[in-house]
């Protein structure tokens, strides 16, 4: 199943004359850094989803908003497609370039413009790394809460575009909950401010609409984020279980006890073993599943909650519950989890990371379903996930050098996502649709819903020049590749021509 841009099903793209465009860019934007030679373009041909590559026509590396503004105006005038890119850590091919388009790299917008402790906000350029914000706020005992595992590398612009989340999300929310304001440039090169320095602003909530829109509605040029006071203490409990089901149920029990952990993560046996071999976190390698439950806040409350959670876990059938003795052990417990992906990378030549969400109560059933699918497709699956918010990251292990394995891994991944949708979940909790899950969008949404999404896109970008082919599939694509279900013997989109 090839997901590279296919004009037949994704829509025709404007034809651009590279030489003429390059000449005009140089003339109109003499101080803009432009890459145009094959060897310079290579490093940009994919993002974190490296299985798919397209060499962009041109790569531009602006440093000032005026350059981006002029570039977008020029591209709009000449109908040149533009794909924005932050740090390129996206795992769904959101920043996958187009052969006939410009890749607009925002990485040089890397300045922290203001850290305002009394207003509890920071104003930053979009290329600033997620972790750099918390580092800049640390002298004031403040931090930026959303913490994607890629936080040392990913950009805040990319976080806004993907509505990124992390371990802290259950308690502190996603990117959308931690933003005050974004400045954007529309595809026409028009400057807009969405949100404000106040907690709300007049009109429709375009800030919410824009968050997670995957670079389809405009280019982010500045972001104002909320900062929170650092919790006084954080403690972590590790619980081992002899069955994945029991661990899954324990998650619900903790919530039912009225406790919202700062982080609640689960790993299955394959992931535990891989992480332990790699990090030596001290995990119990015989356990079928472990839960890591972090409680943070004010000392007295954390102490009480640790006792409550310990009781809940024991009642839920944990074979062992450990409280990290000190900060060093707490960090080690987390290091195992945070390095689970690379750890799995060591036990398999390749792996494919999925990102589905489900209602928590469906956890045991979905894990069983994954085990069955894993056997059916003959590929191992390691499970690592944000258990507290039902965001699963099944890692499908395969070997790209074995003919057919990549395709099998993709097919298995697609089935897992459809299983998530079937139990009321979503095909993506944080990594986005991008190009990777474009076909699964047809399983989660019907033709009318997809049509309305295209309407939203058209309200901001009528000619579809920004990141074409991402996020929302065309109905043609769904008719051909989509996982649409045949209902009462009726083919979906009977009105569309077949290929």
């Amino acid at each position: 199943m090839n997901i590279l841009y296919d004009e037949r099903v994704d829509g025709a793209l404007p034809k651009v004359d590279k030489t003429a465009l390059l000449a005009e860019l140089r003339e109109r934007l003499p101080d803009l850094d432009i890459l145009h030679q094959e060897e310079d373009l290579k490093p940009y041909e994919c993002d974190g989803l490296s299985a798919y590559r397209t060499t962009p026509m041109l790569v531009v590396l602006p440093e000032r908003v005026e350059q981006v503004e002029q570039l977008l105006k020029l591209c709009h005038e000449h109908q040149v497609p533009v794909v924005a890119r932050g740090a390129g850590t996206g795992l769904s091919g959101g920043a996958l370039p187009l052969e006939q388009g410009i890749l607009l790299v925002m990485a040089r917008f890397n300045r922290i413009l203001e850290v305002n402790p009394s207003g509890r906000f920071a104003r930053v350029q979009p290329g600033v790394r997620n972790l750099a914000i918390s580092q800049a706020a640390a002298p004031f005992d403040l931090y930026y809460a959303p913490d994607p595992s890629s936080q040392i590398a990913c950009s805040i612009g990319g976080n806004v575009a993907e509505n990124a989340g992390g371990v802290h999300c259950l308690k502190y929310g996603l990117t959308v909950h931690n933003l005050l304001k974004v400045d954007i440039l529309t595809v026409e090169g028009e400057r807009l401010t969405l949100g404000s320095d106040a907690l709300d602003s007049p009109g429709f909530d375009l800030l919410a609409l824009f968050t997670g829109s995957e670079g389809m509605l405009g280019v982010i040029t500045e972001v104002t984020v909320k900062l929170l006071p650092k919790p006084q203490v954080a403690k972590v409990l590790l619980a081992a279980f002899d069955s994945v089901e029991k661990a899954g149920r324990a998650v619900g029990d903790i919530i039912a006890a009225g406790i919202i952990p700062g982080g609640l993560e689960m790993m299955d046996n394959l992931a535990i073993r891989a992480a332990e071999d790699f990090i030596h976190a001290g995990y119990p390698v015989d356990a079928e599943a472990i839960l890591l439950c972090e409680l943070d806040g004010v000392e007295a409350d954390v102490h009480d909650d640790c006792e409550r959670v310990r009781q809940v876990l024991e009642t839920a059938g944990a074979t062992e519950v450990r409280l990290a003795r000190d900060e060093a052990e707490r960090v080690r417990f987390w290091a195992g989890r945070k390095n689970a992906f690379p750890a799995v990378g060591r036990i398999s030549p390749d792996y494919y990371c999925m990102d589905g969400t489900i209602p928590r109560r469906e956890l045991p059933g979905v894990l069983r379903g994954i085990t069955e699918l894993s056997a059916e497709y003959g590929l191992r699956v390691a499970n690592v996930f944000h258990a507290g918010d039902g965001n699963m990251h099944p890692l499908i292990l395969f070997d790209a050098n074995q003919p057919g394995e990549l395709e099998r891994a993709e097919a298995l991944g697609g089935k897992i996502l459809e299983l998530c949708v079937a139990v009321g979940g979503s095909i993506t909790g944080e990594h986005g649709v991008g190009r990777e899950k474009i076909n699964q969008m047809c399983a989660q949404f019907n033709a009318d819903e997809l049509t309305l999404f295209h309407g939203v896109k058209a309200a901001f970008d009528a000619t579809g020049l920004l990141n074409p082919g991402k996020n929302i599939p065309t109905l043609h694509r769904c008719a051909e590749f989509g996982a649409m279900h045949v209902h009462h013997g009726q083919m979906p989109f009977p009105e569309l021509e077949r290929f």
């Binding site: 999300c169 609409l209 006071p229 979503s426 901001f460």
Partner: protein, 351 residues
């Protein structure tokens, strides 16, 4: 309280399709409790109140899905029985408020700066669109980034983008301990203190200065609330204050001059405006009773980085938008409501 459940979405859809066919605008109304907000509407009444009841509620998922005609009080009672709440503390402004009106008006109560706004708790919606379709966006899961976030867009859109028929909301456990304090401080001292405290992990969940006193609510575990109360060391008072504030029942609100809601960056110093002021949200929301012309109020407020909404019948209750932003509002409205049938003009004449 009578808890009835009835799915009237087929009827609502039919009424919308009739309106589309005849190109006749609709005036969407829940309990009518917020009818003083926004511009005056004409149009045929679309009453949501028949469409009511909780569709699913699983406390361990922290999610409730509810039909929008359901009385807000009924939803809150159901949550309360399970030890949970709507953390955004939506104002009812009367006994008839519905869940749909709460979402469409997007108003949040005193806990808002610490817990989040109505839109922050919206996970999914079902919406009747301007194409006469009944569609589903978002869902019942905490994280969902598939497609555009139309659910959160519906919050605060005052029914101008579609009829919301169902909404899934994130709910939270009620805090284990609560304490209410009062300190005698003038406004600028209070704002300074709040800026300091805001940088510390204190369990503050509401802060209002009434001109004389700074009222604080502490919420959290027993330990943290007790420790903070000792540290801040002040008079403890009853809890009614916060509900009276949220419902605009404090004596401040009985002043006959027009009521304005001013939204500001939280560290804005005391703002010089003609009339009486009440400061909520730790400084980020200021209520103003004033007869000053709208332009004067808005120019002071805009200068400070905020905006002002008039809670009275007037031509422009919501702060006017910059021209470029208005253009995208119109384009969005044209896509979602191409025949202009949903509350046209309620927010702005142009949409």
């Amino acid at each position: 309280m009578s808890q009835t459940s009835f799915d009237a979405s087929a009827r609502l859809l039919e009424q919308v399709n009739d309106a589309i066919a005849q190109r006749k605008p609709l005036r969407i109304q829940g309990g009518g409790s917020k009818s003083h907000l926004g511009r005056v509407l004409t149009g045929e009444l679309l009453d949501t109140r028949e469409h009511r009841g909780i569709v699913t509620y699983d406390p361990t998922e922290l999610v409730v899905t509810v039909r929008t005609g359901t009385p807000l009080a009924e939803l809150e009672q159901t949550l309360d029985e399970q030890g949970q709440l709507l953390a955004c503390e939506p104002p009812h402004l009367g006994t008839d408020a519905t869940v749909g009106g709460m979402v469409a008006a997007g108003l949040s109560g005193p806990r808002r700066p610490w817990a989040g706004s109505v839109r922050d708790f919206v996970l999914g919606t079902r919406v009747i669109t301007g194409q006469g379709k009944h569609l589903r966006f978002g869902g019942e899961v905490m994280k969902n980034v598939a497609g555009y976030d139309l659910s959160r867009l519906m919050a605060g859109s005052f029914g101008c983008l579609g009829v919301v028929t169902e909404v899934s909301l994130k709910v939270l456990p009620k805090p284990r301990a609560v304490a209410n304090l009062r300190l005698e401080l003038d406004l600028s001292q209070a704002l300074q203190k709040l800026a300091q405290w805001g940088q510390q992990p204190l369990p503050i969940s509401a802060a209002c200065h009434d001109g004389e006193y700074l009222h604080l609510r502490l919420e959290g575990g027993e330990g943290s609330v007790a420790a903070a109360r000792d540290r801040l060391g002040c008079e403890t008072i009853g809890l009614d204050f916060w509900e009276d504030l949220r419902e605009q029942r404090l004596s401040f609100f009985s002043d006959k001059r027009p009521l304005w809601r001013v939204s500001l960056p939280n560290n804005t110093p005391p703002l010089l405006l003609p009339g009486a002021q009440l400061v909520d949200w730790g400084g980020a929301q200021r209520w103003l009773k004033s007869e000053a012309p709208a332009e004067d109020i808005r120019s002071v407020v805009s200068h400070a980085g905020g905006h002002a909404t008039c809670y009275e019948t007037c031509d422009s209750p919501f702060q006017p938008l910059p021209a470029a932003l208005m253009r995208y509002h119109r384009q969005l409205k044209a896509q979602l409501d191409p025949h202009g049938i949903f509350n046209p003009g309620r927010m702005y004449a142009e949409i």
